[in-house]
């Protein structure tokens, strides 16, 4: 260090300082430096805004470094959507405009200050939004058929969600920047890793829609498809609302097996189908079983199976309500079987661990039917979830 000080002094004064004086001089400089730091610390305490703005700018810089990941995910998902639209005859010149229109599409939730009839209004809004979204896709990709349209709708929805996450993160980042607000910046910094993780999870779903392979959420329909095969159900009936039903007999008990119509990416309206079936049979059903993927808690194992009571369905409300209402009207026991998985596994291509659980779920359903449905009775088994890559009859 002495050599360095010597060199600096030599450069300044064009002559070296005698070595006997150098140590004293260095000690003096060091003391001065510490003294200045000490003074600055106390002075900065007189101006707390200065410290805060310093921390804010550090925080904003860290957010800025991370937020580019969301930009990349947004860009790549839009590119995938553009490729898919082009595959079905989209106009290359207006592609950017079309992508913007699709990814910025929104729906407004119904007013909840007067909750009476809110589920009907919500269902109506969701139906109209879906109809409008599909019409737009059809308009931009004129060569798309009905099956491919459902899958393309999934791709567009994923791009839309990733774009929304990016927009929200950027909104708060820019807000913190604009007002130099430390507290907003901190909140964005805390939540950003979760947003990035969520956006990555959605991004992982894209290859499933482009390749048309089942996703983790499709375990419910896959169980039903396997039951069709096991019980030799060769024909299924379209019951409307994008749902199909097949009938089988298991140890003198009738099984009505319901799922969304595959293999395109559909979830259908299981609630409406259940209501329709229960009404048509005047409630002469001994058991309703819903099978669905459910989010696991951290620490739980992927593919764990659990059984409970209620309707296992993760819709915004209307479909679940219809299932509960139908069960209640005729006092039909409502049993739920869930296959636990992380959010990431639920929306990305199905992993083997989850696919391997289908047989175990079928065994559980069989035991349940034997236990609760008398001979000659009827059980309605519903596979809830996206049926992408899962066909219908055997």
């Amino acid at each position: 260090m002495t050599t360095v000080v010597n060199a600096i002094m030599a450069a300044i004064f064009y002559q070296p300082i005698p070595s006997s004086q150098t140590n004293d001089f260095y000690s003096f400089l060091l003391s001065l430096f510490y003294f200045l730091i000490f003074i600055m610390f106390f002075v900065s305490m007189l101006f707390p805004g200065f410290q805060l703005s310093l921390f804010t700018s550090f925080s904003l810089r860290r957010i800025g470094d991370k937020i580019v990941v969301l930009d990349e995910l947004d860009l790549k998902s839009k590119k995938t959507l553009a490729d898919q639209l082009k595959k079905f005859g989209a106009d290359s010149e207006k592609l950017n405009e079309h992508i913007k229109e699709l990814t910025e599409f929104f729906e407004i939730s119904p007013v909840d200050r007067d909750p009476s009839g809110i589920l009907n209004r919500l269902e109506y809004i969701l139906d109209v939004a879906r109809y409008r979204f599909r019409s737009l896709i059809k308009l931009y990709a004129p060569k798309v058929d009905e099956n491919a349209l459902s899958t393309l709708e999934d791709t567009a929805s994923i791009a839309q969600v990733i774009h929304l996450i990016n927009r929200i993160a950027k909104h708060y980042y820019n807000l913190a920047k604009k007002f130099k607000n430390y507290y907003i910046a901190q909140q964005v910094e805390f939540i950003l890793p979760f947003l990035i993780d969520m956006a990555k999870s959605y991004f992982r779903a894209l290859p499933a829609t482009t390749l048309e392979v089942p996703i983790g959420d499709g375990i419910g329909p896959m169980v039903i498809a396997r039951m069709y095969r096991e019980f030799g159900v060769n024909e299924v009936k379209d019951v409307g609302n994008e749902m199909v039903v097949g009938e089988a007999v298991f140890q003198n008990r009738k099984l009505i097996l319901l799922k969304a119509s595959g293999p395109a990416g559909r979830v259908g309206k299981p609630g409406a189908a259940v209501r329709q079936i229960v009404k048509s049979m005047e409630g002469k059903i001994n058991l309703i079983v819903t099978i669905d993927a459910a989010l696991k808690l951290e620490g739980e194992e992927t593919g764990e199976i659990a059984q409970g009571v209620g309707a296992a369905i993760g819709d915004p409300g209307p479909e679940k309500y219809k299932i509960e209402e139908s069960a209640l009207e005729y006092r039909i026991p409502l049993v739920a079987i869930i296959i636990k998985q992380g959010f990431n596994d639920a929306i990305s291509p199905m992993i083997k661990t989850i696919a391997d659980k289908a047989d175990e779920v079928i065994n559980r359903v069989k035991n349940l039917v034997l236990e609760t449905v008398p001979e000659g009775g009827v059980a309605l088994i519903v596979g809830i979830g996206n049926t992408l890559g899962v066909g219908n009859a055997a």
């Binding site: 390749l211 048309e212 089942p214 896959m222 291509p349 989850i354 899962v390 066909g391």
Partner: protein
Amino acid sequence: MSEKISVFFEQTLNIRPISQLECTQCKHKVERPYKEKEYVNKIVEDKCPKCQSTMYVRAIYVYPQPKQL
């Protein structure tokens, strides 16, 4: 683009799904790479290596990847 996100894109976009086929007669199961337009319950052209009967797609899945970045 950072290296981490490049690896993420590469791992995510280049998945290789597997089709698990089952013989309609002897229930023998085989795995092979997924072919385009295949879906669960679809009868495929592959023949059972044991009894030469027709096979169908029993499941389509991917093997869990090593922890992604």
